[in-house]
């Protein structure tokens, strides 16, 4: 290959390649990593491989900048975890962390330089309203004003609407199971809660196998492919870490997924980790997981879709069909999540809302007005004097 177009995937697979990149290659890598939310992760890799002093300074400024932001998030997350654990301890409940915050609290290297947008926690369904009340009294309030959104979350999703802390501004997602109750697969949250693991006093994460299965389920059923590459990298990191450090991990992984009725997403996770990042997975485990494999025809179609959708979201990585592939995966993930009669109104409503937004603002929803130069998110507390 004279021109490497997929710098990001290559260096994620083999970080030692970072040393060989030319400046123009860095010039493509940095925007790819920025789009995939992986700039900070990239810097963590640079640090882990002791490359700070040998790599060119200009691109490293970008990775460093994102890394500093992720370091700040770690501190903030630790503080939020402390506050949440106080709140749940007052109810005699464990604080069970999911996803990014769980990786941070478990000290996993995959959390190094990773950004997260909110904190996810798991509580027993019967305690949901008690937890919500306690959180409310401690300043966490619903961030969804729209009554439809509120109902959608409560009736059909596995979460209550996202909460936002009134003074600290942090976002919190409270889950009572790891898939919506209307989904095709029905993992039993009680089984998952029975296996949680304490990482600090009163603070828990899922067990290593459950953490991997949950991460797989999240990526391959929730339709959240915007950060597909980051999520597959999480899986890669989790598999590497637990495969090395957790006795009996590989042995338990597939049977547990079968027990939880989640062997399909686990199959995809293992399959695509190996395909995209060359993850080292024992052949026996791969073979075992094939019971979650779709039929051969479907399997070929899925390969095409996933491989496209998981590429970094950047024009230098686009192949024809990428947009369509992403959309099909989105529809598929909604199909797996909700009965069809419900799916249609929801998708059309989403589309309709978007159209209205387009009409009034003439743009997509993620844009802002040109910002006033303004100090952002600085937290001052003045002492009453």
């Amino acid at each position: 290959m004279t021109e490497r177009t997929y710098e990001l995937l290559e260096v994620l697979r083999r970080p030692e390649l970072l040393k060989t990149l030319s400046l123009p290659e860095w010039g493509r890598l940095i925007p790819q990593a920025r789009h995939a939310l992986l700039l900070g992760r990239l810097h963590a890799l640079v640090l882990q491989h002791g490359l700070v002093d040998v790599l060119p300074e200009q691109p490293l400024n970008h990775t460093l900048s994102a890394y500093l932001a992720s370091q700040k998030q770690r501190t903030t997350t630790a503080w939020e975890v402390r506050k949440l654990s106080d709140a749940l301890q007052s109810l005699g409940l464990p604080l069970v962390l999911l996803k990014g915050s769980a990786y941070i609290q478990s000290g996993l290297s995959v959390a190094e330089g990773r950004l997260l947008s909110d904190i996810d926690i798991l509580v027993p369904k019967e305690k949901l309203s008690t937890v919500e009340n306690t959180l409310h009294s401690r300043g966490w309030r619903s961030s969804k004003g729209d009554a439809y959104d509120e109902r959608y979350y409560r009736e059909w999703m596995h979460e209550i609407p996202p909460l936002r802390h009134i003074t600290r501004g942090s976002f919190l997602d409270v889950h009572h199971t790891i898939l919506p109750p209307t989904a095709k697969y029905k993992p039993d949250p009680v089984k998952i809660m029975a296996d949680i693991r304490e990482v600090a006093p009163g603070v828990y994460t899922l067990s290593p196998v459950d953490m991997v299965i949950h991460s797989a389920t999240h990526l391959f059923h929730e339709g959240d492919f915007d950060h597909g590459l980051r999520d597959i990298l999480d899986l890669h990191g989790l598999l590497n870490h637990f495969g090395e450090n957790e006795p009996g991990f590989w042995h338990r992984l597939v049977p547990r997924a079968v027990e939880l009725d989640l062997v399909h997403p686990l199959y995809y996770a293992l399959h695509y980790c190996r395909l995209i990042l060359n993850t080292d997975i024992p052949a026996a485990v791969l073979e075992q997981s094939r019971k979650g494999r779709p039929n051969p025809l479907m399997s070929g179609v899925m390969d095409g879709l996933f491989m496209r959708a998981l590429r970094p979201d950047h024009p230098s990585c686009e192949q024809p069909l990428t947009g369509v592939a992403r959309w099909l995966l989105y529809v598929r993930s909604h199909y797996l999540r909700m009965p069809l009669y419900l799916l249609i109104p929801h998708l059309t409503r989403k589309a309709w809302k978007r159209r209205v937004a387009d009409k009034t603002e003439q743009t997509g929803p993620a844009q802002a007005n040109v910002p006033e130069p303004r100090a952002r998110a600085n937290r001052w507390r003045f002492w009453a004097r």
């Binding site: 925007p31 460093l64 932001a69 501190t75 802002a368 910002p371 600085n378 003045f382």
Partner: protein, 306 residues
Amino acid sequence: MMTRISELDLIQLQSQLKGVGLYLKTGPFSYRIRSSVPAIAEGLHLLYGDSAFYPQMDFVDFDIRLDAPSRLRRYFRPKLDFYFDHQTPFKPLPLTQAYAFLEWGMNWCISVHMNQYLKLHAAVLEKNGRALVMPAAPGSGKSTLCAALMLRGWRLLSDEHALISLDDNKLIPVCRPISLKNRSIKVISQFDSSAVFGPLCEDTHKGNVVHMKPDEQSVALDHQPVTPGWLVFPKYIPGADTRLTERIKETAFLKAGDQSFNYSLLGAEGFEVMSRLIEACDCYNFSYSNLDEAVETFDKLSETAA
């Protein structure tokens, strides 16, 4: 021998902007700018003439483009999109605001992406080897004062960003045009007829906006950091007397922090760097209405440079 952007004629610059783009280095950052909008070419030609022209660069920090979203819109509702890395972080703006949109977008690139400095929203100038840092909210007369000081021989480091090195606390220059609004435009053109202005953008969300060219000397020294000297909080008050009053340091800390883009993000390091800045500076409040008196006051202050 270095070629300057002013050595290109407008047509050449336009074709550069329409083609591979104009590569621009300002302070520690590099941009690649592409646009087919004539006002963008005119503005860059007028205001960045003293900057070096690079036929190409191996790596750019910020790849930006300003163009109409679609062919159709060009005729119906002439609006512009700002693309950063092929994405559009802002709502489109009318074509008449093109040049201001470019400068605002360039500022945004720095304020959201570069956290390896402590960044304040502030004007920074230098005299006698010391930096004058003036953090201020919009509307405080910071840019007017900054323009006047530059026109009277102070070296401009930035009208918008104080970049403070985390290693040695020095102010890093990022010398770009000064943004003037509404009444200040006339005030400055009357203050000094040698001031060079870019395209006027009318009726923006900030009113009328025009950018003023930095002087040749400031652009030439755009790579030399400066030791901090004075931290001054300016306030334009119509009809007010010129007053420079000392300010106690801990409130200066809080007020400067309030104008920071990333103080919180830097955590304990932000606190340390800000403390060192405050300790290194004499801190003042400054209120003024007369620009000549203001310049005189700062010239006197500059004589206190150690």
